[in-house]
């Protein structure tokens, strides 16, 4: 059996770090806070790795099937017998896998930030926030109760908000953090309603009971819920769809993705941790956690999941080809890859070989965390060196940043799906799952995979090749004066995570993932079809060579190409005007139709009532204030009059 204390410690250690650094960081641990946070997280990571080893190789497998354990469950708030909010720990293959991913990536980011954030004024606050985020994410992963997941879901949202807005004196960062919070919060409203619908039909908030109730087609709960319909869909379908909206908001799925590119205003390591590797996959994790419900009870919603994922994947990939801010390219790439995970879930079925999509999705989640964190941290190293986010300021950096160059190249190869790097294996499985179930999605995925290779290598060649690097000091704008570490690549603490993650990105694909994670816990044989791999790899290589042809040397081919695709290029450059559509809907439609009438109502009716009572009081008191004349005898007359009236009342009327 798993040891509850050890597993509980994994999230609690970062929480301890948050409390310690949040309360005392600014006074006592001014410079040591980074080391403290990192040390606590290192302990967490070791415990997580130990738990994973223990689970997968010692006690997890019973009769060839990975079991689920709930080593601890505390009832936190009981509404009625059976319906309670619990704080529990779930140990099963996906939660253990996520524990490893979250702690490992978070540890890399902690170490990296020691160098990247050095000298920041709010250094302890930064580490406190990182601790809070890690705690929330681990709590989310371990949740055994759907309401517990919701609580941590919101905590994750808050810490993301705090970290995006870390540079709070930068107006764009403030706008970005508000946008991220509002958009995800809006999606979470759907999640909450979905939770209420699902728990109402299942009669419980506990994951296991809920899943077993909702997936047995004979149970009364399912029959009743299926009979209740609203707008042509059953209550369960609505519940599952609303839960998915929550997941789509957090995972930046079209059309709720608008916050993710702006979230890049945060410090780069934060982007690596939250907006690339861990938080944004929470939506995938949520769908995976409730996968039996989606697959067995509401297949229609799973279909929606698949299509939303596929559309997000291709749209984001097209947009990524045109952006020039390197972090934005990576942000859209993240969105595209999460789209991959989503549609992999969408095309999956429950149980046995048909559950390949599920395994592939989580496998891709795992490998993506490695290479996307690596890409972001590499981009951070570049930004740290060049003090700009814009591709146009970069070029020819391969001699100046050798380690970053090599690791970035590995990550690019991994994400492009070139064998034998990690992305190849997971992407193959996803494509295979799509091929077996939905040809349209398969073609979308194939095109996306070509585009992925293209935009990643566009990024790579623009940063490290292209035009020669202008040495600072001659002419490089105001950045030259700020620069002190000319010719240096960032210290050991920044390079170590890059190297470790590069090893992960190169080797993670060889993990026989299907043996550990599958829909029903039975090992899933992963087979490779050589013929099947030809198409995606060829497309990937084509993308790489196109990018090389266009961007390796400085030339005017990209501009010509952009001009020949004028309409599409412009639309993609402006992110398909989705932000503008949102602005139109909110500013023009919502503000005019709801905001203005509400403001009018507030200003005239509500304020009017308040002002009326004030004015009426003033008017009346102005009239009667003369009664308080200061003349004692006048008061006596009023008093006497009152007594006489009362006497008359008591004598004649109120006998």
């Amino acid at each position: 059996m798993p040891n509850a204390t050890i597993i509980a410690l994994i999230p609690l250690l970062p929480l301890a770090g948050f409390i310690l650094l949040g309360l005392f960081g600014r006074k006592i641990f001014k410079t040591s806070s980074g080391v403290i946070g990192t040390a606590l997280l290192l302990t967490s990571t070791i415990l997580a790795l130990y738990t994973a080893y223990d689970y997968f190789f010692v006690y997890g497998k019973v009769a060839g099937v990975y079991q689920q354990f709930i080593p601890m469950k505390l009832t936190w708030l009981e509404f009625s017998p059976g319906v309670s909010i619990d704080m529990g720990l779930t140990v099963d293959s996906i939660s253990v896998m996520m524990l490893v991913v979250v702690t490992f990536i978070s540890l890399m980011v902690h170490i990296y930030s020691l160098g990247y954030m050095k000298g920041e004024e709010r250094f302890p606050t930064y580490y406190a926030y990182l601790g809070l985020f890690t705690f929330s994410m681990l709590g989310l992963v371990l949740a055994s109760n759907i309401f517990q997941i919701y609580i941590f879901w919101e905590l994750v949202g808050v810490s993301s908000f705090l970290l995006i807005g870390y540079y709070y004196n930068k107006p764009s960062a403030v706008a970005a953090c508000k946008k991220a919070f509002i958009v995800t919060r809006f999606a979470d409203l759907g999640f909450l309603i979905g939770i209420l619908i699902l728990s109402n039909s299942a009669g419980t908030l506990d994951f296991n009971t809920m899943i077993s109730t909702l997936t047995s087609p004979d149970s009364d709960a399912v029959k009743n819920a299926a009979a209740t319909s609203f707008l042509g869909a059953s209550a369960l379908t609505w519940g599952a769809a609303l839960v998915f909206i929550g997941g789509a908001g957090k995972s930046a799925m079209f059309p709720l993705h608008i916050w993710l590119p702006d979230a890049m205003e945060g410090p780069t390591p934060v982007s690596a941790l939250i907006h690339a590797a861990t938080m944004v996959v929470a939506g995938v994790y949520l769908v995976a956690r409730l996968f039996p419900v989606f697959a067995l009870t509401t297949p229609a919603v799973l279909e929606i999941v698949g299509w939303v994922g596929a559309v997000s994947a291709i749209i984001a990939a097209i947009i990524a080809c045109t952006q020039t801010d390197i972090k934005r390219v990576l942000a859209y790439s993240t969105m595209s890859q999460i789209g991959y995970m989503m549609f992999a879930l969408g095309v999956s079925h429950y149980g046995g070989e048909a559950g390949l999509g599920y395994t592939a999705s989580l496998f891709h989640l795992f490998t993506h965390a490695m290479f996307k964190a690596l890409l972001f941290l590499g981009a951070g190293a570049v930004i740290h060196y060049i003090h700009s986010n814009d591709m146009k300021d970069m070029g020819g950096l391969r001699k100046y940043l050798p380690i970053t160059h090599i690791t970035f190249l590995i990550a690019c190869l991994a994400i492009a799906g070139v064998p034998p790097f990690a992305g190849f294996f997971s992407k193959e499985e996803i494509l295979l799952a799509a091929y077996q179930n939905n040809m349209t999605i398969y073609w979308i995925a194939l095109i996306t995979s070509g585009l992925t290779a293209f935009y990643m290598f566009r990024l790579y060649f623009s940063i490290f090749w292209n035009k020669p690097h202008v040495v600072h000091g001659e002419k490089h704008g105001p950045a030259a004066s700020v620069k002190t570490s000319e010719g240096k690549e960032g210290g050991f603490v920044m390079m170590l995570p890059l190297v470790l993650l590069a090893i992960g990105a190169a080797a993670a694909g060889f993990i026989p993932f299907g043996e550990f994670v599958s829909t029903d816990g039975k090992a899933l044989e992963s087979h490779f079809h050589l013929q099947f791999s030809i198409a995606p790899v060829a497309l990937g290589l084509a993308g790489i060579f196109t990018a090389m042809w266009l961007y390796k040397k400085q030339n005017n081919k990209p501009e010509k190409l952009a001009a020949s695709f004028n309409g599409l290029y412009k639309a993609a450059y402006h992110k398909f005007y989705i932000d503008e559509i949102y602005l139109f809907i909110t500013k023009k439609v919502l503000f005019n139709l709801i905001g203005r009438p509400a403001a009018w109502f507030d200003r005239n009716v509500v304020d009017g009532l308040v002002n009326f009572s004030g004015n009426a009081t003033e008017f009346v008191s102005e009239k009667i204030k003369k009664m308080q004349s200061g003349k004692v005898q006048q008061y006596a007359i009023y008093f006497l009059g009152g007594v006489i009236v009362l006497a008359a009342v008591f004598i004649y009327i109120w006998k």
Partner: protein, 104 residues
């Protein structure tokens, strides 16, 4: 000689009461107003005594009430005179028309 009955005494008491009220409302001198209040209180005392004697002769409640009212009247006179003295010190007058600073 005719013994006075309840109604005689009530008449006297009512007369005293309204004389007191009239004095309180019309006189401008604070001392006189204080005396008017004493008249009102004494009219009440008379009522208590009269009802006690003619309606419940076996009880003492009216008498006790009267005693209390006399005590209170004495205390009240002390307080009122203190106020009047202070008023005189600040206003150089005990005319109630001059003491109307506490108003709107």
């Amino acid at each position: 000689m005719m013994n006075p009955g309840l109604y005689h005494i009530l008449f006297l008491s009512a007369a005293l009461f309204f004389i007191g009220v009239y004095g309180f409302l019309t006189r401008r001198n604070l001392i006189t107003m204080l005396m008017s209040i004493e008249l009102i209180l004494n009219s009440v005392n008379l009522n208590f005594i009269a009802f006690n004697k003619y309606v419940w002769p076996e009880k003492m409640d009216g008498l006790f009430f009267t005693l209390f009212i006399i005590a209170i009247a004495a205390a009240e006179a002390a307080v009122a005179i203190a106020i009047i003295i202070n008023l005189y010190r600040s206003h150089q007058s005990i005319d109630v028309e001059n003491a109307e600073d506490l108003k709107y």
